[in-house]
């Protein structure tokens, strides 16, 4: 678990982070979003114990970044947006160095290297030098280096920039796989659609502060259903609100939007509407995008 308490980071003439407090549960993927210069990278560097805050506290799995920076470094990976590789080394040697640098020894190194290569799809290129890899493959190698020692927390700054759609898709799948194996991921990106597929919550940083004071859970109320009637019907909204499993509803003319406790309720709701004699002509699932959520949250903050 990551806990940040009243984090302040200052530059000589600017406060980059101003009293940020947050909690990130283990085994989750959190999107870190915000405009340029908002403080996202500074926050990530503080979380990675690469920068020491002016005041406040950062706890990674109970370890304070001030008191135990090296123990935190052992169990954490941070892939910056502009990363480097040892170009003259082969993929295998790059991964081997990363594994050894994180304390792996003996046979564990080879096992970890092969596993990481497989996860990022570089098994066939182990003998190739890093300099010979394409942009996408270099990104994969960097991620491979970041996960080779199976850290508990991985932070990635703009991990998909420069990747083609296929590579992005496989990156999303990899993140979900890492999450399933119990890792905590924090991913920063400007491209909100990219974060959509795998993020469970979102932290919005604006002007060095956390918008809304807490992480926005993205799974909650994210999926809703549009119910369309052939013509507007009086009392339909009240009817919908009375149906079992409907947690919330909003109506505008013949179209209503409803939120269900679970998706299993869909058939029952449709059946109830038809049985009640309403002229149902459409029922469709709709997803609130991350961008909508972001704009909503930042809009609230502005208001």
């Amino acid at each position: 678990m990551i806990e940040v308490r009243n984090l302040v980071y200052e530059y000589p003439n600017k406060r980059a982070l101003d009293g940020v407090s947050l909690t990130i549960e283990s085994g989750t993927i959190t999107a870190l979003v915000g405009p340029n210069g908002a403080g996202k990278t500074t926050l990530m560097r503080c979380l990675a114990a690469l920068e020491m805050p002016y005041s406040g506290q950062v706890l990674i799995n109970g370890l304070d970044t001030r008191e135990n920076p090296r123990r935190i470094h052992e169990n954490l990976s941070f892939l910056p947006d502009f990363f480097g590789l040892y170009d003259s080394l082969s993929v295998r040697r790059c991964l081997t160095f990363a594994a050894r640098a994180h304390g792996l020894t003996g046979r564990d190194v080879d096992v970890a290297v092969d596993k990481a290569a497989e996860r990022v799809g570089l098994t066939e290129r182990m003998k190739q030098k890093a300099a010979e890899l394409s942009r996408g493959l270099r990104q994969r190698l960097a991620i491979g280096q970041a996960i080779v020692h199976e850290p508990k927390v991985i932070m990635l700054d703009e991990p998909a920039s420069g990747l083609d759609p296929d590579a992005r898709r496989s990156l999303s799948a990899l993140f979900l796989e890492l999450k399933a194996s119990g890792l905590t991921l924090i991913v920063s990106s400007h491209i909100l659609s990219e974060l959509e597929d795998y993020s469970g919550s979102m932290i919005i940083i604006q002007n060095g502060k956390m918008v809304g004071g807490q992480a926005v859970t993205l799974t909650e109320n994210r999926i809703s259903y549009l119910v369309e009637l052939a013509a507007p019907a009086d009392g339909f909204e009240v009817f919908l609100q009375g149906l079992p499993g409907v947690s919330r509803s909003e109506s505008l003319g013949p179209i209503s939007q409803i939120w269900l406790d679970t998706p299993d309720r869909r058939a029952g709701v449709v059946q109830a509407i038809v049985q009640a004699g309403y002229p149902l002509c459409g029922f469709a699932e709709t997803k609130r995008t991350l961008e909508q959520t972001y704009l909503e949250e930042t809009g609230k903050a502005v208001r």
Partner: protein, 454 residues
């Protein structure tokens, strides 16, 4: 195996590079050996050793961290589990391995020539000298580059040359001192056998020592401290806090080392006076360290603001844990200065009707504090060489140009540097006035007092 060392081996010790090094050095040595004059061969081997291990080795050491920053791999290393000492040794040994292969070949020729010439008994000292001059110069270059990394300076080729220069200067000093003890030295060959600083014995803390042995022991001690310096700066770079204890022990060592030389043994016998002289010698060494640290330490506004805030809240534990190294050096210097003031005889100066000795020490303390204020004023919030150059230019102005300009005014030097004057209190008064005004102005800076907003 040390992962950083292994990585460096992968990069440095490629078949092609090793072959090239061995072939080039072997060719030079073979040409030197072929006439059968082993003395000349040893001379050539020594020069090649310096070229390969010292000149090229310092370059490699200076580049070892800087290259990582340029290639954007440094954050990855900082985020590893590699311990600070493992990192230092991996970089120092790893980046210079190829140079040491060439150096070992040269050393073989030097040892053989020495044994042939009947100097077998000096081989151990010789081996320690060549090993330590190599390690010391390379470690000094790495240390300079690490300090620059901490200061977030740029890392152009010229910058790397400056870090390398630190190693070269260290090597030159060691070489020159070593030459004073060696009757067959390269220096004496170049000057036709004349060396004004040649010594046949070293007097230190009342004892007489063989210069060769004393120098080797000193070199080993300084190599230890340089490596420890690397370790401590690397710790900071890896975000581990350093306490002040080791730094204070180093200052104590330096003071004891410099204060131990009995240059005046034939003239001074009185114990209190001797203590005063030792305090002055130690003070000079600590002054050099104070200046170096005031120049090279990062002068981040945020860090100093944090310190001032701790001071305001009376949090002295936190304050002392992050106190700048130059401040500690200055505190030790003050202690030595007070010792000198209390023990140096006033009578010597009295004969000239002025209170010279102790008053000059008091003035020197003030001038050092003033100069630190100059470093701080120029460096606070600035990154890079410009602030250093500006500070050094101001000091040149204060110590060289302005005294020259005002030389026609009697006693004007009292304003600029420690010197004897009548009345004797004038010099310390002017020194301390400048120091206090300088620090008052610095502490009035808004960015040190007021924390910024978003």
């Amino acid at each position: 195996m040390n992962p950083e060392l292994l990585r460096n081996m992968w990069v440095e010790l490629t078949e092609r590079r090793v072959t090239l090094m061995v072939v080039i050095v072997a060719c030079i040595l073979l040409v030197a050996i072929s006439p059968g004059d082993w003395s000349s061969a040893a001379f050539t081997a020594e020069l090649v050793f310096y070229a390969v291990v010292v000149v090229w080795g310092t370059r490699c050491a200076a580049q070892s961290v800087v290259e990582e920053i340029g290639n954007k791999t440094w954050d990855g290393q900082r985020l590893s589990a590699i311990r600070p000492w493992t990192m230092v040794s991996g970089k120092l040994v790893g980046s210079t391995m190829l140079a040491w292969i060439g150096g070992a070949m040269c050393f073989g020729v030097i040892v053989y020539a020495t044994i042939r010439a009947g100097g077998g008994s000096t081989v151990v000292n010789l081996a320690l000298y060549f090993l330590t001059i190599g390690v010391l110069s390379q470690a000094a270059a790495l240390l300079a580059s690490l300090v620059a990394v901490r200061r977030r300076m740029s890392h152009s080729r010229f910058d790397v040359f400056l870090y390398q220069l630190a190693g070269l200067i260290a090597a030159l000093l060691v070489w020159r001192v070593w030459q004073t003890a060696d009757p067959t030295s390269v220096f004496r060959r170049l000057t036709g056998g004349i060396d004004a600083f040649a010594v046949s014995e070293v007097w230190w803390w009342g004892g007489s020592y063989d210069p060769g042995t004393f120098y080797v022991a000193s070199l080993v001690a300084f190599v230890f401290w340089t490596l420890l310096g690397n370790y401590r700066v690397m710790r900071r770079e890896l975000q581990v806090q350093n306490g002040p204890v080791v730094w204070l022990i180093f200052l104590g060592f330096l003071a004891a080392y410099a204060g131990g030389f009995d240059f005046w043994r034939n003239y001074i016998r009185e114990p209190t006076f001797m203590m005063g002289m030792r305090a002055v010698q130690a003070g000079i060494a600590v002054t050099v360290v104070t200046y170096v640290m005031a120049l090279v330490e990062p002068k981040e506004v945020v860090a100093y603001r944090w310190l001032i805030e701790r001071f305001r809240h009376w949090q002295f534990g936190a304050l002392l844990s992050r106190f700048p190294a130059w401040c500690y050096a200055y505190l030790v210097l003050t202690g030595l200065g007070v010792t000198a003031i209390l023990t140096l005889p006033w009578s010597i100066a009295e004969s000239a009707n002025i209170y010279g000795g102790p008053m000059i020490v008091l003035a020197a303390l003030g001038f050092v504090l003033r100069d630190c204020a100059v470093f701080m004023a120029m460096g606070l919030g600035q990154v890079g060489k410009r602030s250093d150059i500006a500070a050094l230019a101001i000091l040149a102005l204060l110590y060289v140009f302005m005294p020259g300009m005002f030389s026609h005014i009697e006693g004007s030097t009292a304003f600029f540097y420690p010197s004897e004057h009548d009345p004797a209190w004038l010099n310390p008064l002017l020194a301390w006035s400048q120091a206090l005004i300088g620090w008052f102005l610095i502490l009035r800076r808004r960015d040190l007092r007021v924390r910024p907003q978003i």
